[in-house]
């Protein structure tokens, strides 16, 4: 499979702070690649290096198999990006902002193309409105529009759903999937929300303090980890006695006043539930949580 992004030993130091530390990552053609990490993990610094906004202290970046440092302009012609929160010339309209950015990129800035891209992100009715009147969510959509304007092969999105309402988030997710599946684009999606990446990505990496914590296909990472499932019930003592004599005993992690925490595989939840109900134990709720998610939340909390 062809590598679209190849990062080796990437390091960025700001005086005493090492923001990115010997990071390696590979993104392949057609990937929706989730780039995860808590706030301050080094995600934006990495993206800024990928987009040549900041210079790496050491390490190499290749995009489309070409060294970024030497072939910057050639590479960036085929890359669209949102880097952190998208900001525009507030005193100009959405249309004019796109026209200017398109002209700098040397791409098609015809009325048809700009309106088409504004329609894609749902801003066609606000084309002539000044950007300073836009909400954060609208700027986010316009950010996506400028990233797609020149029809890039690689799209780098840094927290693209920040500030969007649930409907907007769903639309962006659908658009990302559409771009990857229908238009064969490669997507590099940075986020600090595991669930968001899990819904769209096929491969992902989790970084913390500038280094890789875990990397692989989303499916492998999710399958590799058992679920922590909390069964909430009223008759805890009776349930303890019943479970003590069964195969489920060794799956118990801990007991609470009204909960039992099990470590289960996904396909074990329903049989356990059935067993308890058949024993006359009423289940109030079942809350599954993957250990990967726990791990990520742990990282996030530490990061915060």
């Amino acid at each position: 499979m062809q590598k679209v992004i190849e990062v080796q030993n990437l390091t960025k130091k700001f005086k005493d702070l090492t923001a990115v530390n010997n990071l390696d990552l590979n993104v392949y053609r057609g990937d929706i690649f989730g780039f995860l990490g808590p706030n301050g993990a080094g995600k934006s610094t990495t993206i800024r290096m990928l987009m040549t906004l900041i210079n790496p202290t050491s390490g190499t970046i290749k995009i489309f198999d070409k060294p970024l440092k030497q072939k910057r302009n050639e590479i960036l012609k085929k890359v669209g990006a949102i880097v952190e929160k998208p900001d525009f010339y507030g005193y100009l309209s959405a249309y004019k902002n796109l026209e200017i950015l398109g002209q700098i990129s040397g791409c098609d800035t015809s009325n048809k193309r700009i309106m088409e891209i504004l329609e894609t992100v749902g801003l066609e009715t606000r084309a002539k409105s000044k950007v300073k009147t836009f909400s954060h969510g609208m700027k986010q959509r316009l950010g996506l529009a400028q990233a797609l304007l020149h029809d890039p092969d690689l799209i780098i999105l840094d927290e693209p759903t920040t500030g969007l309402d649930p409907q907007g988030m769903k639309e962006i997710r659908e658009l990302i999937i559409h771009l990857a599946k229908e238009k064969q684009k490669t997507i590099f999606l940075s986020s600090h929300i595991l669930a968001e990446v899990e819904l769209v990505a096929n491969r992902m990496i989790i970084i913390n303090k500038g280094t890789t914590v875990v990397e692989g296909t989303v499916q492998d990472l999710l399958n590799a980890t058992n679920l922590k499932v909390t069964f909430e019930l009223d008759e805890i003592e009776r349930a303890k006695k019943i479970l003590a004599e069964t195969q489920w005993q060794k799956k118990i992690e801990s007991f609470g006043d009204y909960q039992i925490l099990f470590l289960l595989e996904k396909n074990e939840i329903a049989p356990l539930n059935k067993f308890l109900v058949e024993q006359g134990i009423l289940i109030n709720s079942i809350v599954p949580k993957r250990s990967l998610e726990e791990y990520f939340l742990h990282l996030t909390e530490k990061g915060a």
Partner: protein, 278 residues
């Protein structure tokens, strides 16, 4: 490059701060002209009081040329403020607005972007000086008419009516070169920070300090004076000498041009290596 410059000019002229300079000149110059229309005779009498006993002045001495000369003399001190307003914003304004990220991730080299911004800034600067020329000389000639130009320096010099216009053209060109140095300095400061206020204030601070140093006639300041670019910003006045010291004018213009290239070169060096963190 043409497209980039066009875009930068569009951005400059879509900002209200750009028009502060034009508005200031558009208001100040007519006010000075109106005041001179009513009080000009007294001003001229004051100017020539020490020569009154030796010379008899005849003809229309309070004419458009004299008014334009006076205005040029006083405004070249203040126009740098107006230039700095735009120069300081050229790069730092992008950082403040967060638009660096959009701009620098385009497939255009930083060198080209900086160069386009600088060219656009130079065009603004020259347009401002041209506006000053049109409004002070053009309007002055309409209101006050033509005549001979009386210039008082170490001696009294009177230029014939047909010997003045070309001097003004060179004077405005020289003033534009001086103002371009201010632009280049403001542009340099603008590349160092991420807020436009700092470069505007810094540019003016440097000009004020250098102008004060240039004006104080004591040995220490006389020694450093040749190294201060503000010392060469009044080169336009040399065009109104008789005879004209062309060598001095060329030397001064080369020094000013050298400053422009130097400041721009440093800006380019800094900006090419700058980490965009805004």
């Amino acid at each position: 490059m043409y497209t980039l410059v066009k875009i930068e000019l569009y951005k400059i002229f879509r900002k209200w701060r750009t028009y502060i300079g034009f508005a200031a000149i558009g208001v100040m110059v007519p006010i000075i002209q109106i005041a001179m229309y009513f009080e000009g005779a007294h001003y001229l009498e004051f100017m020539t009081r020490s020569f009154k006993d030796s010379f008899v002045f005849v003809g229309n001495l309070l004419n458009g040329y004299l008014i334009a000369y006076i205005i040029l003399g006083s405004l070249t001190i203040h126009i740098p403020f107006l230039i700095a307003l735009v120069a300081g914003d050229l790069l730092a304004g992008e950082a403040t607005a967060g638009t660096y990220r959009m701009l620098i991730t385009r497939p255009v080299s930083r060198m080209k972007l900086v160069f386009a911004k600088f060219i656009a800034g130079l065009i603004y600067t020259n347009l401002l000086v041209l506006f000053l020329a049109v409004i002070s000389l053009g309007l002055g000639l309409i209101i006050f008419g033509v005549g001979e130009l009386i210039v008082i320096k170490d001696a009294i010099i009177i230029f014939a009516q047909n010997d003045i216009l070309w001097r003004f053209i060179f004077a405005y060109a020289s003033a534009a070169l001086s103002m371009s140095v201010v632009l280049a300095l403001g542009f340099l400061f603008s590349s160092l920070v991420e807020n436009a206020i700092g470069p505007i204030v810094s540019t003016m601070t440097v000009i004020i300090i250098f102008t004060i140093f240039s004006a104080i006639n004591i040995d220490f300041f006389r020694t450093v004076k040749p190294y201060l670019f503000t010392n060469y910003m009044s080169t336009w006045r040399l065009v109104f000498d008789d005879p004209i010291d062309y060598n001095e004018i060329i030397k001064n213009c080369l020094i000013l041009a050298g400053h422009i290239i130097g400041f721009f070169g440093i800006t380019l060096f800094i900006f090419k290596r700058k980490d965009i963190l805004s």
